[in-house]
Amino acid sequence: MRAPSCGVLSKGRVDESRQISVEVNGTGFRREVSVRTTLADFLRHDLMLTGTHVGCEHGVCGACTVLVNGRSARSCLMLAVQADGESVTTIEGIAPSPTTLHPLQQALKDHHGLQCGFCTPGMVTTLIEFLRDCPNPTEREVRVAISGNLCRCTGYQGIVDAVLRVTAMKAE
């Protein structure tokens, strides 16, 4: 669903649009967006990359987390226009191929680190960054790393187990 490019809206406000160029998962996109469209909505409804999920729209749940220039960010708290000229990685860009999973994704699968899967994309992108920053974390550090990602299904244990397994495997 894309906003119309121009038009009189509430209180005589104009719905302004801009052209943006964003690289998402290695592919360049040029689109016209309403300036108030959030990055989350742009990814989901303009680019049809629906793997990034929207859970709260006020920056608490973390389901919408993507990587912007490699850094995790809550895409509900960014405007799409802010991604102009930047590089975004979403969950769809994590697995190396259609037939293989990233070791973190495989570990989540092996350790029952997901149930309904709604928080999972945000967990994965957050953890990808975390493991880059901190390749050998303690359990406490893992929990702190995902303290900004809410999960209502797993109680987090499966996720923590998966991360510790990945780091143990790397160390082996």
Binding site: V8, M48, L49, H58, D110, G117, P121, V160
Partner: protein, 773 residues
């Protein structure tokens, strides 16, 4: 090698991990419009007028619908869903949109449909409603006082229903008791807060006017029935499809005003319409649990054996009946389940308030009943100077008495019979793992250092697998692929994996050859959906039964085709072969084709056509899972902060189908329970205005608040279903609040602390410490 009991890889995982799930907001259709609702900002108010002009004038707005706009399409404008009970004094059903009286903050008044959600919200802000505020019923106890403002203008009072639950001669027991203790409890549980909020998409086919509704629901068949009833349509002209659901936990089993409004809008506008609930709406427009006030007395003999419990429960129902009286019924019933209680009487009063309706959230009223009993047992232990675990051991229903007929009946009128379980052994195991016996010494040592540690325990026995049935169809097609269709609903609890496991166990053992389609009313004519920790039991049993029937037929046909004896055949993957002679085989697909029919030719072996079985196995009695939680805490008396040092949870859900899934359900439930004990409070002011409206106010447990959880399993299979399984989905929640708060009370015993409410916030804990000095 049986798949049952094995932690097989989940079918659900791969697409979800890749971001290829299909949740309701992921649906995009040509011409789809989006809706936003105008909601009442008042808890109780009359609508004197509505003006839509400014909203309609906005570019991109397609419609602003009020009640009058919907009525021509709604032969029945009310959502009538109440579970049967003879005790209703008032029938209050939710309308699709407010007429002239709004009765809770968040109640939908108007629906805006626009090009996208941004414009829809702009327009919603421009709809002008003239409100006349009325007095609100905010507190459920106060609402029952004479002269209290009524939640509905036309109601004579706020008592929706009142009934006793009990048995035995309670008064005689109290009269002759060695000891009688009184307690009052306030218990609060909050909302679901699944990370995915609600959402519905509806599209009406322009050619055959068939309406398809995709909705994030736990009960697609129930949704279908309500839709058909309200729209005045036959079931064949409406189809409800369940996409991936990002958590349900109870409130998504309810059918909502927004759902029918979306359907009507799709019909009126002739275009697909989508409405996705945002988090702000979830706080005010999705059902939740809320407050219960209990005044109880317990009578015991000189040996701390329970003689009777009696009391009164006031339950906050909210403004309408969105499910029934089941929640407080469960709470009151629960007190009498698990321990031997010779006599019991709980009077239940259900109060209307001007708040969003109350319906079950994971646990469904059972945690509250367990809290009452467990707190009473702690009280008894303290008064009689006995170990808290010993008091429980003396009163738990012993394994030798199984099956044990309690004195209570469930809401369907069936007696509650505890089928299997060894509660005492479960408790003993938990106590040993938690180091209960040696804790006193550790506590003393900690106190010398100025640290306050405590330990608490709680037991529970919970009915699972609420019947009467779930529908499962197992079909093998000419491709050789096994298709499973079910009315069961998946919301993260691994329903598809569970069913595939059970079916594959009988039909070739290859889960990759099984496709499960859940929650599509177009594929199974009946179904009940997810609630009451029921799907493994009911859907699992039907799946098992259907798979067995299909297996029997496959073997019979293959025996005919291979000219072999049925007893000599095995199914491995897609191959039906003679045991030990793999090349003497026929493919499952070939077997299916053989009974698909060829014009003019007889079917092989005299069998009926098709390779399919549909089962809806009826199991009326519930099967009772049990467990014991032991929590160790450290309390910071300066800040009131509570750290749960360790949680031990020993659990029995009968035969375990999938160990990892069971563990995941339990730990997930423990997180909800910790929320109920220490964090989750859906607060309102005295005008029934919600004070918690964001996830920064309403605190969900994160990874850093979870303690290390030691899980252990006992398996007491049930005779009530062929697989011997019991439900597990809600069990993790149930004993946590009393175990944690008993531990906090234990930690603060130097201050004479008494905890009679849940949740306890740090400031409440500090108040306990300060009250002592």
């Amino acid at each position: 090698m049986s798949l049952i009991g094995s932690s097989v890889p989940r079918l659900e995982d791969e697409p979800l991990l890749r971001g290829k799930g299909r949740f309701v907001d992921d649906l995009h259709m040509p011409g789809m419009l989006e809706a936003a609702f105008v909601r009442s900002p008042h808890a109780h108010a009359l609508v004197r007028g509505v003006r839509k002009d400014a909203a309609l004038a906005l570019r991109g707005v397609h419609a602003v619908l009020l009640r009058d706009d919907l009525l021509p399409h709604l032969p029945n404008e009310f959502i009538v869903v109440a579970l049967p009970s003879k005790d209703y004094k008032q029938y209050l059903n939710r309308p699709a949109l407010v007429g002239d009286e709004a009765v809770y903050v968040g109640q939908p008044v108007a629906m805006v449909v626009a090009e996208n959600r941004y414009i829809a919200e702009d327009a919603a802000a421009l709809v002008e409603v003239d409100w006349e505020a009325l007095p609100a019923a905010a507190d459920c106890s106060a609402a029952l006082s004479p002269g209290a403002p009524t939640a509905h203008r036309a109601s004579p009072h706020n008592l929706l229903a009142e009934f006793p639950i009990g048995y035995g001669d309670v008064d005689a027991a109290f009269a002759s008791a060695a000891h009688v203790f009184k307690e009052s409890f306030w218990q609060h549980r909050g909302g679901s807060h699944s990370i995915e909020c609600r959402g519905t998409v509806a599209a009406s086919d322009p050619y055959d006017e068939r309406l398809t509704v995709w909705t994030s629901t736990q009960m697609p068949h129930a949704a279908l029935r309500v839709l058909c009833d309200m729209l005045g349509r036959d079931e064949d002209s409406v189809r409800v499809v369940t996409p991936d659901v990002g958590g349900g936990f109870g409130p998504k089993l309810v059918f909502y005003a927004e759902d029918v409004c979306v359907a009507v809008a799709a019909i009126i506008l002739g275009r697909p319409v989508k409405w996705i609930e945002d988090r702000l709406e979830h706080f005010v427009a999705t059902t939740q649990e809320r407050d219960q006030h209990w005044d109880v007395e317990v009578a015991v003999d000189g040996d701390a054996r329970l003689l009777a419990i009696r009391g009164n429960l006031i339950h906050d129902h909210g403004a309408y009946t969105a499910r029934g009286v089941n929640l407080p019924y469960n709470s009151a019933e629960q007190v009498a389940i698990g321990y031997e209680l010779p006599a019991y009487r709980m009077n239940v009063q259900i109060a209307l308030t001007n708040k969003v309706p109350v319906t079950p959230v994971r646990g469904a009223g059972h945690p509250q009943g367990v809290f009452v009993m467990e707190r009473l047992l702690d009280r008894i232990a303290r008064e009689l100077d006995l170990d808290r675990a010993e008091v429980r051991r003396r009163n738990l229903v012993p394994a030798t008495k199984m099956p044990y007929r309690t004195g209570v009946k469930n809401r369907g009128g069936m007696p509650v019979v505890l089928d299997t379980g060894d509660y005492v052994r479960c408790q003993q195991d938990a106590l040993e793992r938690a180091g209960w016996a040696g804790f006193g010494e550790r506590q003393k040592a900690a106190r010398k250092e100025g640290r306050y540690i405590g330990i608490g325990l709680a037991n529970f026995v919970k009915g699972t697998g609420r019947g009467p049935f779930e529908t499962v169809t197992v079909r093998v097609g000419p491709s050789g692929r096994i298709l499973v269709y079910t009315g069961a609903a998946a919301m993260g609890q691994s329903t598809k994996t569970m069913l595939a496991q059970i079916v594959a166990d009988q039909l070739g053992g290859d889960m990759a050859n099984v496709t499960v389609i859940a929650g599509d009313t177009g594929t199974v004519p009946t179904g009940m959906g997810g609630s009451n920790s029921r799907q493994a039991v009911l859907a699992g049993t039907s799946a098992h039964s259907a798979a067995l029937k299909v297996r029997e037929k496959v073997i019979r046909i293959a025996a005919h085709l291979l000219e072999a004896g049925a007893a000599d055949l095995d199914i491995e993957g897609r191959s039906v072969h003679v045991k030990g002679v793999k090349r003497m085989a026929v493919d499952l697909g070939k077997v299916a084709s053989a009974v698909a029919g060829t014009a003019g030719y007889r079917l092989p072996g005299g069998v009926a056509p098709g390779l399919e079985a549909m089962e809806s196995v009826v199991i009326d009695p519930m099967t009772y899972a049990n467990g014991t939680a032991v929590a160790e805490v450290e309390v910071d008396i300066d800040t009131g902060g509570v750290r749960i040092v360790k949680m031990v949870f020993v659990h029995d859900c009968g035969r375990i189908l999938h160990p990892q899934v069971v563990d995941g359900q339990l730990i997930g439930g423990v997180a909800h329970g910790i929320g109920n004990a220490l964090f989750e409070w859906m607060r309102y002011d005295d005008q029934a205005q919600p004070l918690a409206g964001t996830l920064a106010d309403y605190l969900l447990v994160t990874a850093t608040e979870m303690p290390p959880v030691e899980l252990a399993h006992h398996e007491s299979p049930t005779p009530l279903n062929p697989l011997g399984i019991k439900g597990v989905g809600e069990c993790g929640v149930i004993p946590i609040a009393p175990a944690v708060l008993s531990a906090v009370e234990d930690a603060l015993s130097p201050f004479g602390a008494r905890i009679s409410r849940t949740p306890m916030m740090p400031s409440d804990i500090v108040a306990l410490v300060q009250a002592f000095g």
